[in-house]
């Protein structure tokens, strides 16, 4: 059978890749893509802990579902923000959106 470690390592790797995307991408949309990757990594962890723990305890799956909901909300709002920023500043490059500096 598959040991738990495989899942954990996979999710850790996926998380790091997502993190890399978030930190290094220029495009705001791409940054959101990275965030999605990270969320999925978390979900993998949750579900695998559910599977490898006591199956009759549904916490893992429930939290995975809640993460789905949160992800959906985050994407909706995030993309809405990106689009409205694009309307106003005519750019989606994260570094060019620096109105909040001194």
């Amino acid at each position: 059978m598959i040991p738990l470690s495989w899942y954990l390592i996979l999710s850790a790797a996926l998380f790091s890749i997502g993190l890399f995307g978030v930190l290094s991408r220029k495009n705001a949309v791409a940054i959101l893509l990275g965030v999605e990757l990270m969320l999925n990594a978390v979900n993998i962890n949750l579900v695998s802990f559910w599977r490898y723990g006591d199956v009759s305890m549904m916490a893992g799956q429930v939290f995975a579902i809640i993460v789905f909901a949160v992800a959906a909300a985050e994407v909706a709002v995030g993309l809405a923000l990106v689009i409205s920023v694009y309307r106003r500043l005519d750019t989606v490059i994260a570094d060019e959106i620096d109105m909040m500096k001194w």
């Binding site: 993190l19 978030v22 930190l23 940054i31 620096d98 109105m99 500096k101």
Partner: protein, 724 residues
């Protein structure tokens, strides 16, 4: 169902109707008036049942009236009881109230032009101006606030029934006040007319004056006897104690003072001499309202109350004298004014005042049965007259709409004339009512009641007798004047020529009431009367006379047995009635216009300048007091002055504190100092904040990693512990 239960139920339908209409059916006119009239009919049936099959068949109703009471308010160890009482007096009152109320409800349907189209430019709060139907004719338009009107009169009927049926002064007072409110609402029914508003407020205020005294009387009575129930008060020992206790006011006995106070309430309610001013102005309301207030219910309520408390009143001769004087004076005084009025309804209003004066005078001279008798008959024919005048006005409005000349006042008698042929039913019924009012001999009810009053005042109260006789003459005179000006002769205006008869909903009540106006007198024919005497027993006298047939008879001044027959009062009343009628017709049979009316004396026309006098005596001073004295001097000068001085002092203190502590120390040293430091630090730290989100993330993550590893290695010691 026991009689008591039924009696409890009698006042209920109107109040239910009121709420039904106000809450649910007010959008639908037909439904509203059906509800109201249905309710009135229910009460009517109940009342008739109680009157005919219970009150009349009961032996010795005076001794054992129908009564039932329940606990209402706990007053310490005892209870304040409320309940119903039907003794002969309330029975007859119930009888005529039920009839008139029902008739008036029915009449209102026609009066408010039910079934006519909505007005072209009517709006709520104004009398309907008439509409244009599909043929382009001008027709009367339906009242915009039709349902509201029926709701109000339902409430009014409820108040009256409560008052009549209550067995104690408290609920009587409640009904009394409900009617006060309703008269306010109904007089001001067309609230967009300034005159109507003023009249409503005036009526309300004036009656309030009376009511305050009445309330005082009730309070005094309660504190003196500890009860308000009639049955408990009018027992021998209670009355005797009341008669003995001195009240400490004018050397009156407690009974006298209480009676006086209650009577002042009556003065307000039934518009007696000093407080009569509101009643004529109340004519601003729709005519059914006038009839309701001035004939059937409210004003009679005053008299009814006095009759109720008669045993109490009669304990002190001085009070009695006062009452008699007020009554007699009012009778004459109002009659003289009525002679000079031109508004058909105002004439009736003043005649009402004087007729009430009659009753009060009769009471004052001890003849409470005669008073009750006149109360009933007067209710019938005065309601008849008011409704008749309403019908006349309605017919005139028809004419006005037809000609479209709105300057003509459809209520002015001088713009009428010759309506006899135009509106026959109205004419005949009005004539009957008029004759009854002027006490046309033998036929009419008015004659019998008035005759009885005269007869009973004749022995002992000569002054009263003479005054009333003159008043009776004037009554007959102005009644005939009214009839002549309105119906006889030739039409004086085109409007009068185009007047037409009113719908059956208005005429039917007239017919019914005129029936009573004629016949009701026959139940009270004194037995010693020549020819007619003894043909029919003097039922009324025995029946109502039985009311106070209780052991305390010895205490009472005015004894209820019929006045011994004497020919002089009879002749007098014959003379004054016929004479008045004759002269009235003689004087006015061919008067063409106001100019030719020789009785337009300014003094009379302006009602002895009473409104002006009151204005000068009370209103102006009140305004001066509130405006100048209280507002200008006390409020602005004294109180505000004090307050302002406080303010100044506080300001001074505050200024010093600010100058020496706040500004210098806190602001400059502490406040600005910190601000400068912060600014300096901020300027140094500013470059960190690049506004680039990813830089922030990088930095924060880096810090996180470092911190985590530090915690992990340093704080937690050996890693093995970490996740075990």
């Amino acid at each position: 169902m026991t009689t008591e239960t039924l009696i409890w139920l009698i006042p209920l339908p109107p109040i239910l109707a009121f709420f039904l209409i106000v809450l649910f059916t007010n959008r639908n006119k037909a439904l509203s008036h059906s509800v109201a009239i249905g309710a009135a009919l229910l009460s009517f049936l109940g009342a008739m049942y109680v009157f005919f099959f219970r009150a009349l068949t009961a032996p010795e109703l005076g001794k054992e009236p129908f009564t039932s009471a329940i606990n209402w308010i706990p007053t310490g160890d005892t209870w304040l009881k409320i309940g119903v009482l039907v003794d002969p007096l309330s029975a007859v009152t119930l009888f005529f109230v039920a009839w008139t109320v029902l008739m008036i409800f029915l009449y209102s349907v026609g009066y408010h032009n039910f079934g006519q189209p909505a007005g072209d430019h009517d709006h709520p709060g104004l009398p309907p101006h008439g509409a244009t139907d599909e043929h382009g004719h001008h027709v009367p338009s339906v009242e915009p606030m039709y349902s509201r009107f029926f709701a109000f009169i339902s409430l009014f009927a409820f108040g009256m029934l409560v008052l009549v049926l209550s067995d104690n002064l408290l609920t009587l007072f409640v009904g009394w006040e409900i009617m006060g409110l309703c008269s306010y609402l109904l007089i001001g029914f067309w609230y967009a007319k300034p005159s109507a508003r003023a009249a409503a407020v005036k009526a309300f205020m004036t009656t309030r004056i009376g009511d305050v005294f009445m309330l005082l009387g009730i309070a005094f009575l309660y504190s003196a006897t500890g009860t308000l129930s009639f049955r408990e008060i009018f027992t021998e020992n209670v009355l005797r104690t009341l008669a003995i206790i001195p009240s400490g006011v004018f050397g009156l006995s407690a009974a006298g003072l209480i009676g006086l106070l209650l009577f002042i309430g009556t003065i307000g309610k039934s518009a007696q001499f000093p407080l009569h001013v509101w009643l004529p102005d109340a004519m601003e309301g729709p005519t059914p309202v006038s009839a309701m207030i001035h004939a059937a219910t409210m004003v009679s309520a005053g008299v009814y109350m006095v009759i109720r408390v008669f045993p109490l009143l009669s304990l002190d001769p001085r009070t009695m004298t006062f009452v008699a004087f007020i009554g007699a004076f009012t009778a004459l005084f109002a009659a003289t004014i009525a002679v000079a009025q031109n508004d058909i309804k105002r004439v009736l209003a003043y005649s009402t005042i004087s007729q009430l004066g009659y009753m009060i005078a009769a009471l004052g001279s001890g003849a409470y049965v005669a008073a009750a008798f006149h109360l009933v008959t007067h209710a019938f024919f005065k309601a008849l007259l008011f409704l008749g005048s309403g019908s006349v006005i309605h017919g005139m409005e028809h004419g006005v709409l037809h000609t479209g000349n709105h300057d003509v006042d459809p209520q002015n008698m001088f713009s009428m004339g010759g309506l006899r042929s135009k509106m026959p039913i109205t004419f005949w019924t009005f004539l009957i009512g008029g004759l009854a009012l002027s006490g046309f001999p033998v036929l009419t009810a008015g004659f019998w009641s008035k005759d009885e009053i005269l007869a009973s005042t004749f022995n002992g109260h000569m002054g009263v007798f003479i005054t009333l006789a003159i008043a009776a003459f004037l009554t007959a005179f102005y009644t005939m004047r009214q009839i002549t000006l309105t119906f006889l002769g030739e039409p004086r205006t085109k409007e009068a020529r185009h007047a037409q008869e009113t719908p059956w909903t208005m005429t039917a009540p007239l017919v019914v009431l005129s029936f009573f106006a004629v016949t009701f007198g026959w139940v009270g024919i004194p037995e010693h009367f020549p020819v007619l005497g003894g043909l029919v027993p003097n039922w009324f006298h025995e029946f109502v006379g039985g009311t106070l047939a209780d052991p305390s008879t010895a205490l009472r001044a005015g004894l209820p047995e019929a006045a011994p027959f004497n020919v002089i009062p009879l002749l007098t009343s014959l003379a004054v009635a016929l004479g008045g009628l004759f002269f009235g017709w003689l004087a006015y049979r061919n008067v063409g216009s106001v100019a030719q009316d020789r009785l337009q004396i300014p003094l009379l026309k302006n009602k002895y300048y009473f409104d002006e006098i009151y204005d000068f005596l009370f209103i102006k001073p009140a305004i001066w007091f509130s405006e100048t004295f209280v507002y200008q001097w006390m409020d602005k000068g004294l109180i505000d002055g004090i307050l302002h001085s406080f303010g100044k002092a506080t300001q001074a203190v505050g200024a010093t504190v600010r100058k020496y502590i706040d500004l210098w120390f806190i602001n400059q040293t502490v406040g600005d100092g910190t601000a400068h430091v912060t600014q300096w630090a901020g300027r140094r730290l500013r470059p960190i904040q690049s506004g680039r989100i990813q830089q922030y993330m990088l930095v924060s993550l880096f810090v996180l990693l470092v911190a985590a590893s530090l915690i992990y290695f340093v704080a937690l010691g050996q890693p093995a512990l970490a996740l075990k």
